[in-house]
Point group: C2
Chain length 164, copies 2
Amino acid sequence: MRQAAPTTTFMDTGHDHAHCLDEALDRAAALCADRGVRLTALRRRVLELVWGGHKPLGAYDILETLKAERRGAAPPTVYRALDFLRTHGLVHRIESQNSFVGCPDPNKPHGGQFLICRTCGLAAELNDSGVDQAIRKSAAKAGFSVGRPIIEIQGLCPHCRKKG
Amino acid sequence: MRQAAPTTTFMDTGHDHAHCLDEALDRAAALCADRGVRLTALRRRVLELVWGGHKPLGAYDILETLKAERRGAAPPTVYRALDFLRTHGLVHRIESQNSFVGCPDPNKPHGGQFLICRTCGLAAELNDSGVDQAIRKSAAKAGFSVGRPIIEIQGLCPHCRKKG
DNA sequence: GCTATAATGTTATAGTATAACACTTAAAAG
DNA sequence: CTTTTAAGTGTTATACTATAACATTATAGC
Ligand SMILES: [Zn+2]
Ligand SMILES: [Zn+2]
Ligand SMILES: [Zn+2]
Ligand SMILES: [Zn+2]
């Protein structure tokens, strides 16, 4: 019914991003159809902008672009679209940067685990079950019931490491 | 030279927090002396306010209290103090809440791992090496060099779980 | 088409953080 | 002890991030 999720490691700088983006939009359309919710033109456009690259984007960056395209785009325009997209797992918020990034696997519910390069700004979703289990184990020891884990690892991506 | 760090699990509601706070201030004074930096009255007071409880505090909450005590307290007053305290590991920022909390073990450099109760707001520092290792292992697989890991686990603390 | 609901437009405001420069205080040098 | 210098704080203004509230438009179901 749905194509396999793309790899979640750091994208090669030369990867076919047009294809990458097309697939993300297709996945979003399918997911919304499945759930009986509306991927309106605005929501689709915001998702497209967020997927413009693998670098998280600020809400006001998105707004700048929207303003050039729609009369009367304002902060609520973009925040409402982002809220919808986040509710359906199509977009994640990077808490440590007040920014937003597309999710490559919106059908599988998950809190976001991110690797974020401090040099080039690229973010890659990790989604590692070993990390998740270590957290659950450690939380259990403290008698804590885990809801939403937020994991944002700042560091250097393979590409920026080489150039170091 | 320095007393042992306090436990990092969820504080019992009835624990001796006056003592808990005193120790934190003593540790801070010792650390600043060691490093030859100044724990001024303002910085000490901000640290004291942050350690008012184990519930992270917003910068403007701190500012409200300061305003009642100092003529001309303004946002930079508190942000500068917080910057100093964070630089020396005395305070952590909770990225997902724009809030700040005292660190129980400022001498050991570490990124913060937090359990945060969504009901009562209490935060407990985890600092689990299993979690850290799982992250490093997973990041290494992606060729990523880990700098500062941010881990904020939202959920229910033991106390709120029982009442749930 | 008519009605109910969802989505968006629009204006205003709340909440978080920093820039820039003036002033004061405390350490360091002589 | 005085001068010099640097660090810390005061003060004003502003940037950046996010939401409230209400009006208007578009969509879906009847
Ligand atoms: Zn791509
Ligand atoms: Zn990079
Ligand atoms: Zn305490
Ligand atoms: Zn609780």
